[in-house]
Amino acid sequence: MFRHILLASHGTVGAIAAENMAIQVCAPEGKIDHLIVVPEFWQSMTGDDWLNNGTTRDQFRDYLQTELGKEIDQQCDRIHKKIAAHALAYDRVIVFGNPEKALLNQASNTAYDLVVMGSPRTAAGIKGKFSLRSTMLTQKLAQTLQTALLVVPHPGTDQI
């Protein structure tokens, strides 16, 4: 059992499997830090728009920021309740940037016993489900991470 776990989850099917596993392997009265990364590509999501005026672009940015904020709050609340229901401590770490770097930074700044994450979705994705292409699980992460890493198998589409 692990006393202090870093859980990477942004609510996808694979990540939910990781959440369940983190709760299973966490020691009684242990703590799970929930890492949620807002990928940096959102910063360039206005792409090469040039026709709109500043008001429209500001409106879009504010809207996007609010929606992303709402999604993160929902995810954090959901996971917090799930973890608290097992009498475990919860803390959230929200970072904007490159997911891989964010996880490496967090893992090197705080002493964890285990890092848990879901496995990436299949290339074809899951029918009817939208998810972003922004994986944390890279070769560099596997080579650099100094903490034990648990990658939870994807539950597959029939588990959804």
Binding site: T46, G47, D48, D49, W50, L51, Q59, F60, F130, S134
Partner: protein, 527 residues
Amino acid sequence: MIYTQKNPALFLIGLSMLAIWYFTDTGGMNPVLDYLASGKPYKYRDELGTLPLYFGLFAVVSGLWHWLGNHREGHLDYFSSTIAGGMLILFITMLVRWFIAPVIEVISTGFGEVGNTGKFIHDLFGLNYVVLGIVAGIVIVNVFKVPKWAENGVRLSRLGLKTGVILLGALYSAAELKNLGGLSILMIGFFVLGSVGIVLWIGSRRHISNSMGGVLSAGMGVCGVSATVAVAPVVQAKPVEIAYTIGTILLWGVGCMFAFPIIGHLLDMSYVQFGAWAGTGILNSAQVAGAALAFQPDGIETLMVAEIFNITRVLILPVVVLWLAVWYVRKEGAETVQVNVGRIIVTKFPVFVLGFILMFALSTTGIFAPASHYQGKYFGNTADLGFKQENLLKPEQIHVLKTEIHRVERTDHGEALNRLIENGKIMSIDDDNAIRSLIKTGDLSTEANKILETAHKAVRHTAKKIEAFRDWITWLFAFGLVGLGMQITMGSMRQAGGEPAIIGGIVGFIKAVLSLIVVMLLIDETV
């Protein structure tokens, strides 16, 4: 917050520009320029003699201020912080236009013509300074990242494009604007509203959410990313839906920007035909301008047509936003969103279009060029109107044309060439258009085409102010497009996929093919 970064980069950019000017001015650059010109006069020599000097001095002075000066919070700091990024884009544009694109041309010419197309690789694939500039922008942002000191200024690229469109207003005659405007309203009306409708219909058949359908239909139908940005808050699109839509549009847009000019050249499309096709068939407005300049890098006739279509698109945007807002409210229930018609129209109205209209209005007063410039295009076909007798074709030149006239395939081209041979000069605007079109077909030898170019230049008189506008417009668009390239990230494009990619692909393809058929069947070579 202080935006101006204490960094020597701007100063170094200025020094590099001055070095280019110095070596050009002292002749140190001559071997390089001779190599790039491949035996012809190097076409950008005038630009090299002025632009790097003026902008270099400006960059050195402002660069020293950035690097060594004390900066305080405020408007001056904010505006000054944009200089470095703006100069970076300008420097990249200079390097690509003056050196990189000509090198590609030399290498491509060395490989010889592609099959029996009569064109070299760089012609066929549109590898000119505009496309290469956009690619340079994309490479910089994705491989090296935009440096912190340049981030604020990169946004200036939008200002460059909008200023370019405003200046473009001075170049249209009333007849051109009327004809192009009418054509664009018909084509954009049909294809934009049709695409929006089809996406909504397919979306409902494939059971995607209303918000996804709304945002995707705007992006696919109107003007790509710009429409997505405008519509997303109105239809309450989820972030992931926005990401999928923008990813799909950027991927399509970049693909079209390369594919359209190649197809246009293969089909020997005229400037008007290509401008109309690009303006209708390419999803994203930035890539419309890119494709138009890629198709015709040394002139702006195609851009002039394409931009009228872009302007029509952006004028139709508030209407589409309104339509989707009402549609979304009806689909989701009235409590979800309040549609404020006045607010939508006012906030989405593209103010820069007013600048375009103002420039057009000013041009009709003759402030930029005499009215005859617009009425008769550029013609002074008699001695009274400024035609110089020494510009008549020489007997040996006429002989070359006579020996090759049998190779001309189209009747109108043949008739125009006959009149040129009989008179020693081009006799009308229609003949000039036909001769320019004949040059593009590659029916005749290089020598004959050079003679035709000479005949064309002899009758074409462009007012100096208009000439200056053309140069500025070319630079503003090139600057803007390089900067926009620096805002196209692989991270955004990688989000393309799933249902939006399928629906977008189907609609984008149908729109491109149908608009091509319509353009080829119904649009003349001139307006």
